[in-house]
Symmetry: C2
Subunit: 208 residues, 2 copies
């Protein structure tokens, strides 16, 4: 087994969380390197693309969150081997990344501009994406995004659902998912009921 | 063998070109559905996420360019089976996608704003990414991005190199790659010398 160190911010969510969950679910030991936000400016310069998560594997650094997700999902049995099911898994992960990128692009804007951009996303791209994700879920059996079982794609989508419904994003209504893609709420509950995910958050003292 | 239809714009490049190249290189028959730019507004609404490429596989539609790339690369032997080599392949593809997203975000801006945003990218993100891609190339043997052979990652990177050096992007200097990551030019030449890629472009009457 390789030596693994996953580096990401010190909160429960975001681009690094699916890999943390996957490694924990698979019982794969890893160093859980959590960067306090205050240390980020200093740590940023030491990352290959100025971004986290990164995954060190026997001292070599892998970047790009979905590349990391896919790699750890293969190690932990959370990635389909069938080509088409793997493609559905990839599609959902990259669609979420599109949304996450748009959220990210508004994160450090002045408040007026943040408000207008997030309102535009709430009217346009977000419902389009959430509805299509919901449709994909339905077309693939209604329970999970690929392989008719929990895969890394479900962890990725669930983290987005949690972010959008949690109220931590100003100017994005917390009932957006419920209004446009209620099936994603059922999906989120399903993922969070997984015993190993429940155990993970219980260990970290997080209510889900 | 599945029935495949790849839908993308009618030009030689961009997000759809690596999959076209991979399918052609692998001798996998597919319907090469090319949308004339004038027809895009009408066709856009019929796509799941308002975007191309899409790949129809036996009538089911797959979206997200790197999900499509990975799927066709598996069909055509252009994707590593080793987990780590596959991760390197994924990392390069997603890094290119980050750059492509930034280029895309400037595409329809008023000229003043396009100029200032592209100049900022030329000073900041682009050199960071191009240098890191060049470093990844070197760390993986200097010839290809993964598996010490031509994979889908090389096709993805080569299309970016061609886009950045071709002069089609206003306000992005065509010598940027040469200045900051000259190894990517050597890599581009290496990819374009592949006999099946040469044959593909010769068939389409394109000089490369």
């Amino acid at each position: 087994m390789s030596d693994l160190k996953l580096t990401y911010f010190d909160f429960h969510g975001g681009r690094g969380e699916p890999a943390r969950l996957a490694l924990s679910m698979g019982g794969v030991p890893f160093v859980d390197d959590r960067i306090p936000i205050a240390e980020w400016p200093e740590r940023k310069a030491g990352t290959p693309f100025g971004a986290v998560p990164t995954l060190q594997v026997d001292g070599k650094t892998l970047t790009q969150s979905n590349a990391i997700n896919r790699y750890v999902a293969k190690l932990t049995g959370l990635y389909p081997s069938d080509f088409w099911q793997a493609a559905l898994c990839d599609e959902a992960m990259d669609a979420v990344e599109d949304v996450v990128n748009q959220i990210g692009s508004t994160m450090f804007l002045p408040d007026d501009e943040k408000k207008s951009k997030r309102e535009a996303l709430t009217e346009g791209m977000f419902p389009l994406y959430l509805k299509q994700l919901s449709k994909n879920l339905e077309e693939n059996g209604g329970r999970y995004f690929a392989d008719d079982r929990l895969t890394i794609a479900d962890l990725k989508v669930a983290m987005l659902t949690r972010q959008l419904t949690s109220g931590i994003l100003e100017h994005i209504p917390t009932d957006l998912v419920e209004r446009v893609a209620p099936d994603l709420l059922g999906h989120f509950e399903r993922v969070m009921k997984d015993p190993s995910i429940k155990a993970y958050y219980a260990k970290h003292g997080v209510e889900v």
